[in-house]
Amino acid sequence: MSELQLSNVRKSYGGLEVIKGVDLDIKSGEFVVFVGPSGCGKSTLLRMIAGLEEITSGDLTIDDIRMNDVDPSKRGIAMVFQSYALYPHMTVRENMGFALRFAGIPKAEIEKRVSEAANILELGPLLERKPKQLSGGQRQRVAIGRAIVRHPKIFLFDEPLSNLDAELRVHMRIEIARLHKQLAATIIYVTHDQVEAMTLADKIVVMRGGVVEQIGSPLDLYDDPANLFVAGFIGSPKMNFLKGVIETGDGGTFTRLSDYGDAKIPVGLTGATPGTAVTVGIRPEHFKETGTAALDLTIDMLEHLGGETFAYARHGNGELVVIETKNGRGLKSGDRIAARFDPACALLFDADGKRLR
């Protein structure tokens, strides 16, 4: 187990800066997930930690030792790749022991470590097979086994589940979580799937355009996003965003939603300036049958998932609002509903997307 720090880490390709000053502390045993849309720099940052990409400026330290110029194999890391990157001409046993052979570890020790990892991952019967004789899930387990045998300080996972089908993805997600518990390992995991991030992480790092937007525990990010991007990225279906303007009146300060029949949402903010354009964020599950605020909407489309229903509704020709309800079986397209919610659940964002608290 080990600690890792990134201090003002940057990466440029010629004049193009792709990582724009990342600061991050990862504690021993933490499961940290880098999440963000394609091209946000999360995989590049992981490759910089692995030593596969040079760090243009800033410092990377592992256990207080600067690692910027250290060879990938000497950093104490092991990496699991998206395509598994198993050597196709070697058996599972040879794949798992390959790095150890090059590190000059005695044969008996290699055998011991490979057997241990094979037991953990239930790979025993597959050890003499070649990668092409394995299923996607088995290949993934071999790739993880290859990382385990090295006894690394830090495990790096680069979108390891994206090549698997939906069912296997859920299964492997649980396997990885179990492995984290079993090995008490420090893990840095890259994904663009926010469900993976929410279910696996102790700490999520949300990235966009080479910048860290917010760092926090999954529920902190869900409940208390710092900006519009994080609020929209974390949560599925995503948060509803309604345009409004701050106003004051008899009832105090409120947000008027002109696109939704001039609905008024009381604002519990001190110092909110009247006339300020804001975005109101409401999560689909925050719509209830009771609540002091309400939107008059017409249902456009319904998704019945059994346990709950997602209703896609709109006011006039406005944008779709997603509503999650447990009692949606009786609803049908064209129904008019008053979507109520507790104003305390609504989040406000300014014109730049920053959270207003």
Binding site: R47, A50, L52, P72, A85, Y87, P88, H89, A103
Partner: protein
């Protein structure tokens, strides 16, 4: 498929063309095999049936030619040329594809341009160079100009595009140096590409004629192609003997092709899937 007159005409044309091509490809082999069984006179007369002179032709060939020495010369030149060409050209192809540099593409294009220069234009300067190096009438002189093959470099570069970059990354994390990645990962993963290139280079080297004709001047150093040529250009050439020599000269390339046919096809389709 509907059997309309247009379709029938198209099928007749297609099969006619394919049949003609097949005939043109196979006929020299049939003629060679039949010729080996006939006397020189019968061959000149255009006889295209099995004859009874096979044993005589074989005996004459073994009398006229020091077969072990000639085959040893050809084998030596071919094996060295093949191994060195594959080693040098695959390294170059790998390097061109993997390592980025400002001048990479310019250099690569310049190398490809050399494919457009006919060997006849290079022959004399090459002969002078080899002469200055004191290598005339040596097998080194035959092998040396062939090992930097622009076509094989091109072939390896194209094939390397399909080599997964994540394998290199995984190998780096596993502690391999660049030369170890090439030797322990790239070479075994690309073995079908090597097999296809092996067949191409082996055939070219075995059948190489013009350059050895210029630099090999003594009977002790001559390869099979030169010996067959000298048999055919005698004052009274014995074509039956020439045909026997040609069949013997064809056997190694046929054997290599048949043994490596599967890898050749796989290599042409791409090593990595």
């Amino acid at each position: 498929m509907r059997t309309s007159p247009a379709n029938i005409a198209s099928a007749i044309l297609t099969y006619g063309f394919v049949g003609l091509m097949a005939f043109l490809s196979v006929f020299p082999f049939i003629w060679m095999a039949l010729g080996a069984t006939n006397s020189s006179i019968d061959i000149i007369k255009g006889r295209l049936a099995p004859g009874e002179a096979l044993a005589t032709n074989i005996a004459n060939f073994f009398t006229l030619v020091n077969v072990p020495l000639v085959f040893w010369n050809s084998a030596k030149v071919t094996i060295f040329a093949t191994v060195l060409t594959l080693a040098v050209s695959s390294l170059a192809g790998y390097g061109f594809e993997i390592f980025r540099s400002r001048h990479r593409e310019r250099l690569y294009r310049a190398m490809l341009l050399t494919l457009m220069i006919p060997f006849a234009a290079l022959m004399i300067p090459l002969f002078i160079m080899v002469g200055k190096m004191g290598l005339i009438n040596t097998h080194i002189a035959v092998v040396l100009p062939t090992i930097g093959s622009a076509f094989i470099v091109f072939y390896f570069r194209q094939s390397t595009k399909a080599f997964p970059s994540e394998l290199r990354d995984a190998a780096k994390v596993d502690g391999l140096k660049e030369w170890q990645i090439f030797l322990y990962i790239y070479v075994p993963v690309m073995r079908s590409t090597y097999a296809a290139a092996f067949i191409i280079v082996f055939m070219t080297a075995w059948n190489n004629y013009l350059w050895p004709l210029i630099v090999l001047q003594s009977n002790e150093t001559k390869t099979i192609t030169l010996v067959i040529s000298s048999l055919a250009s005698a004052y009274y050439p014995d074509y039956g003997v020439v045909m026997v020599g040609t069949i013997l000269a064809t056997l190694p390339t046929l054997a290599v092709f048949f043994f490596m046919q599967r890898q050749f096809v796989q290599g042409m389709l791409g090593s990595v899937k």
